[in-house]
Symmetry: C2
Subunit: 406 residues, 2 copies
């Protein structure tokens, strides 16, 4: 298959490209390298030393014999070039990962909020619009987020995208409908993925585009079968307060023997998936497109749920590092349940890597191996959801900095 991977230089994008190239597909990475620019903006870098995309492609060619191409293109800003490029490349499938993907970054300030909305919406819509205008029959696979759902209602499992409801008629009876799950985003980033869903529903209906939306949980892990093949193929590992996920923060803190910082009670439940499973799911999605005229196909791309405090305990037990509680910079419930259906991917053959099994490798072979590259000042979450929360966490961040200096 000829596949265009938009955002193929990012954390999920890069191992996805390797995985699909390894499986024999023709891959072109289209990326504006914005993730690297944001690293520069924030003064942070991947824990794992990361080469340029061009160098990565050279190594992959040497290791595998397979060629992947790279196209520098900003799909949000350069509509005409996107259209020209798609008209030439005419992919069978495109994978759309070209969005600003960190919730804390999206809530940092008005600059990051407006950037996230304008970039993410334009990126998605430009691709949809170009496919329609060019009359291309390309399967559109998008990485969404479990965050579109918010948390599950008490006693009801979150289905895969569509919810059965009963609606009251005027005569007092009920009738059945299946509707897009009502969204409840917790950040501007998550909001953009809700906006994406409505655009997908429209273009699938009006233009019969074939669209798959993958509502992914928190991705953890660094290595896949392909990134292991050469040190320079390593995936990025983000541990800074904006782009680092909660598990990465714990692993890094364990590696440097800093207390594991749990925000609030740690009673928030999140969905997780290993990067190896993530790339397998994307492959499964690419191989199973919906039919023309179908509504968008939605998968819940996650394999486990954990409460944050249970996750902290796992890492603490493994590393002997204690847990401390800090104020939560996010505006969210202290405790939440999350029951999620992911049966479509399991039925299509996914065999999940579990946190209990994979986390030790991550601690030893990634966090501890590269511990000398850790800048501890970058670990705390400093981006708050409101001005009020900002002032609460700012004082604590100062204390934590003071403590580290002792």
């Amino acid at each position: 298959m000829r596949i265009a991977v938009f955002g193929g230089d990012g954390f999920v994008g890069w191992p996805t490209c390797l995985h699909l190239s390894n499986a024999g597909h023709e891959i072109t990475i289209v990326d504006n390298l914005s993730r690297r620019r944001i690293d520069t903006e924030l003064g942070v870098q991947s824990l794992t030393p990361m080469d340029s995309i061009q160098e990565r492609l050279r190594i992959w060619k040497n290791v595998s014999g397979r060629t992947m191409r790279f196209e520098l293109l900003d799909i949000a800003e350069e509509y005409t070039r996107v259209k020209l490029w798609l008209d030439q490349y005419r992919p069978d499938a495109l994978i759309h990962l070209a969005q600003q993907r960190a919730a804390p970054y999206s809530m940092k300030n008005d600059r990051s909020k407006t950037y996230t909305v304008n970039n993410n919406v334009a990126a998605t819509h430009n691709l949809l619009s170009a496919l329609v205008e060019l009359e291309l029959d390309t399967h559109f696979v998008h990485l969404g987020t479990m965050g579109v759902y918010g948390y599950s209602d008490v006693g009801a499992t979150i289905p895969e995208g569509y919810l059965d409801v009963k609606i009251p008629a005027d005569d007092g009876t009920d009738f059945q409908r299946q509707i897009l799950y009502p969204t409840n985003p917790n950040s501007v980033y998550h909001l953009t993925k809700c906006l994406d869903q409505l655009m997908f529903a429209f273009y699938a209906s009006n233009d019969l585009l074939r669209i798959t939306d993958l509502h992914q949980g928190v991705v953890w892990g660094t290595h896949t079968d392909q990134t292991r093949r050469h040190e320079q193929l390593v995936n990025r590992f983000d541990y800074d307060g904006d782009y680092g996920t909660v598990l990465n923060r714990f692993l890094i803190q364990a590696a440097v023997k800093h207390p594991l910082t749990v925000h609030g009670t740690g009673g928030q439940t999140r969905a997780f998936i290993h990067i190896q499973d993530s790339v397998r799911c994307i492959e499964i999605a690419v191989n199973n497109p919906p039919a023309h005229g179908d509504r968008p196909k939605i998968f819940n791309q996650m394999t486990e749920t954990f409460r944050i405090r249970d996750l902290a305990k796992l890492v603490s037990d493994m590393s002997g590092v204690e847990i401390i509680n800090l104020p939560n910079p996010r505006k969210e419930a202290d405790e939440n349940d999350l029951k999620v259906s992911n049966k479509q991917l399991l039925e299509l053959g996914l065999e999940p890597v579990t946190l209990r099994v994979g986390m030790l490798e991550e601690l030893v072979h990634v966090a501890q191996k590269y511990a000398h590259r850790i800048d501890q000042s970058k670990i705390p979450a400093q981006s708050a959801w409101t001005h009020e929360l900002q002032s609460k966490i700012s004082s604590v961040v100062d204390i934590s900095t003071a403590k580290r200096k002792r």
Copy 2:
């Protein structure tokens, strides 16, 4: 009250500003004059001769003694200037009408689709983001559309924004929720108003902004009590295939004795409201903000529903002009029901102007009065929802042009 009217130079914006200025409010119009630019782009003009915004303000000052100010500002493109301006003006309420508002224009081609999405989303989000960043307690009043709902389910009246549903729990019982009405937009324009709704829900929840969203029907009529006060205060009247509404098309065709062109069977039901009622509704909304922490308040801003063929018959009976049927450029059901609740505005005192009463004035005092300014080649709807529909209507448009030349 100090009120900023974004998009105050447009069809709804201008009479809204006059109405609120007349009621004693301090009004500043903020507009990028894009509606006039699009007229130029399409080679069309308002049937009613329309002066510059500056000239209109001079006349209003002479007629009423009241001053309104004008600020040339593109709220989608100039975020920093928007923020600076809001920080200085600090309005009690803002009315957001600054969006591309024609469904046919939004479906014309990829240029108009991407413009509509990028402009409309950025316009809304920039205002929201600036209010949060500045910590302004401004009531945000937005003009949405009935088109977010699509059409009503058989036997169920469309409620005002929120729908009661029963959701099945895992144990087989149902529980009740009130959700944002599931959207079913029929064009890229309507889609953007669905995106707006999700942004409003997020900012009302995360930042406690007070937001009112007015889901308006098709607006008809030209004059309000204020536009009647001087010929140069007249509102715009669009009759071209992109911006002219169905009723305007019929009135113009009646004025020049051209057959009334009904698309498809004319079985589509639409919601309508007179411009005089529209500006009153906006005033009611401004005077009745939600509380901090409330979800967005949603009104259905419409007063009547009509099937298109019944509307055509009304105009035909009034004018003696025959009706003909043409292929529908829109992708939509041939026949649809539309039952809508609008009880909130009625309870707050709205007394509607009805089509049966007001349409004759519109025919005589607008369409026939300015009939010498009609360019008949601009009347047909030429923007189709898909490439397939485009080829169907193109042939018919040619025939109609040929007929006119005889």
